[in-house]
Symmetry: C2
Subunit: 410 residues, 2 copies
């Protein structure tokens, strides 16, 4: 029993941490509770209940199902629900009319066949990627409403009244949801995406810095400041794993109206491109990081020789990245970015030159210690390996950020 109590305690502790970590989640929960309480007024107040009757149930159901964390997701689901229901409702009326004209015997047959056909087709459409991204929920609601209306049309007489009330309660539910998400502490998917991207870029810059630092200080203060940089170093893992989040955010962001600094036609696709190039840069950091862990370490001599220039390259490229992150954050073209990029290019050139001259410098010790040569290659080339994508990446970044400026400013 003590074990169980401990488990429950741990669970509650974790839940509490989540709440403290991101208070907006708690606010979201309160918003859900509030919307549900408001919608249940339809039951508690006699005049409202008279208007819709037992169909008030649909308003409650809509609120529970449609209310999502971000504004974009809520709007997306609401629109899907309303249009899916309406479309399916009209189709179902058509089928019901045809079936009821064709006599007592054929009615169940026609109804059953139409349900089978349309449900299969709609289910299949959910497998098509372009439909899945935007109308997945709508297709499900379409199937649901269509089969409910056609099939229950066989038993219920006042079908039109029922459908009318149901659609109106759904509209009441969705508009309440949209109202609550948009006006009470709204969480915009677009803004989240914006923050996520710029924060990830900062993290990436930090871990590039930390990685190169650690590589060259390895022998010096070995495991001296072990914990603190470790966390910084692993920042690039966030970049690697955030693909799915970015994509869903970008999908939802498209449904959101203009808010804050974001227009309606904000180029959300650009964020995905930036995310992709950040990921390809993170792969390089991963490779670099592996070099730190590998048993082959460069000789002292080469390390010392290269450390200055390598540190310079890494600090320059990370400062470019930080500048780009700032650019994204403020959505204003920073005046110093061209200068920083130029500087980075020239240090990269320096590093390349340095590497060209290395063999000459190493000729004397080389014959004595053939193995030191090999390990040295690891160091220098890692940097070459890293330098190439960093340059590519940076130029890509500048391209993208300037494009964003162009679109934002118009």
């Amino acid at each position: 029993i003590a074990g169980l109590v401990l488990k429950v305690w741990k669970f509650l502790k974790r839940a509490w941490d989540i709440g403290v970590d991101d208070p907006r989640k708690v606010i979201h929960c309160l918003k859900v509770g509030m919307a549900l309480t408001v919608v249940s007024l339809f039951y508690f107040m006699r005049p409202l209940y008279k208007g819709v009757g037992g169909n008030a149930m649909w308003a409650i159901m809509t609120v529970v199902v449609v209310f999502e964390n971000t504004v974009g997701a809520t709007i997306c689901k609401s629109l899907n629900r309303v249009f899916g229901t309406t479309l399916a409702g009209f189709l179902a009326f058509g089928v019901h009319w045809v079936a009821s004209q064709s006599g007592q015997e054929f009615e169940p047959l026609i109804t059953g066949a139409s349900v089978f056909l349309l449900a299969s087709t709609a289910t299949f459409s959910r497998f098509i990627p372009s439909v899945k991204a935007r109308f997945d929920y709508g297709a499900m609601i379409f199937i649901l409403t269509f089969s409910l209306v056609t099939v229950s049309g066989y038993r219920v007489d006042k079908l039109f009244d029922m459908a009318h009330q149901r659609i109106s309660t759904i509209i009441i539910g969705t508009s309440l949801c949209i109202f609550v998400t948009m006006f009470i502490c709204p969480i915009w998917a677009g803004e989240e995406l914006h923050i996520l991207i710029s924060r990830n870029m900062d993290k990436l810059a930090n871990s590039l810095d930390g990685c190169v630092d650690e590589h060259f200080n390895y022998n010096g203060e070995l495991k001296d400041s072990d914990k603190q940089p470790d966390k910084k170093l692993l920042g690039y893992k966030c970049v690697l794993s955030s693909k799915a989040t970015e994509e869903s955010m970008a999908t939802f962001a498209r449904w959101e109206p203009a808010h804050g600094r974001f227009n309606f036609k904000h180029p959300w696709q650009q964020y995905l491109k930036i995310g992709a190039s950040m990921r390809s840069c993170a792969y390089c950091v991963e490779a670099l990081n592996r070099c730190i862990d590998s048993e082959n370490q460069a000789s002292e001599f080469t390390k010392k020789h290269l450390s200055n220039i390598c540190l310079k390259v890494s600090s320059n490229s990370s400062s470019v990245m930080k500048e780009v992150a700032k650019t994204i954050k403020t959505m204003k073209r920073s005046p110093s970015i061209d200068f920083l990029v130029e500087e980075m290019r020239s240090t990269v050139q320096d590093l390349q030159n340095e590497l060209n001259f290395l063999p000459k410098l190493l000729s004397p010790p080389e014959v004595l210690h053939p193995e030191s040569k090999e390990t040295e290659e690891t160091t220098s080339t890692t940097h070459l390996l890293e330098v190439i994508p960093v340059v590519t990446f940076a130029s890509l970044m500048i391209e993208i950020s300037s494009r964003i400026q162009a679109i934002v400013e118009t």
Copy 2:
């Protein structure tokens, strides 16, 4: 208008391709249609309709919402739905009883407050990762049922009858769904995961092979067989992007009963570990691939010198991977795997020795062409870079596969 027709045509073409590509998707759609038609018999047949009345609606709704592509997902959702509904139903009865005892005035107050509290708590629980992975849907259903029952208890008299009928229709719907998914062309999440992992490993081996081949044949038959290897080369991208799929499959696989060669307690977590190490290997292939594209190419001389040994290393390691893939596929420990690994280790050792002697060999041309030296470093070190993780990876793989054997055979 012609543009619209063309667009529709393209859309239909794409849909057709999806169907041809994976006929099981089409079968799934037909299964959904069938389940819906069967469940609508509750409306068409008088004795059945008499039993449940208008609540037959809930059976239809359950089928639409719960029916998923894989058996595991369907069972997971079904159990979540049934238990969420039952639990919420009992709680709601308790609250309703307390509220109805406390007099006309306080009843709406108590009901509203309890809805607010429980809905907020349940919504919050959906943010906790361990709950989200398994009981996300159950929490939603809990909120839905709880608010429906408590709130409509204010208006409906025969609450107990209603709840009883509703739960029984939901159970009818879920058991129909489970029956149809399990016995008509079932798609098991576990089997899908199994196939995905072994196929991804094959792809990874192929792209490692292709990558190294291309690197060394670059100058030879440049862009001769361009298209065919390109596709092979990009196989590793599948490995990089399949993380989310693997995770959801593993979650669903845990809900599935024993089927085929899989026991109930099959170690699904191991698959995730294999997936993770495959991804870390794919990062290396990505880095290697970048070297092919980079403008710095190694000198002819070094390439020729190293090509034999490098090709050997890559073919050995890819054959180890293929063997592991076969091991996973057949779930039988292959007798040759130890031998292959040993062979790979020795070729890796050879490569390292070769690299140690390289500087000596290169001493004469080095002074003449300093830049050739630098680029050569790129080649050799890339391979070192690659070799280290491949060895680590391979030993990890063997560890894992033997562990799987141990668990499968018990």
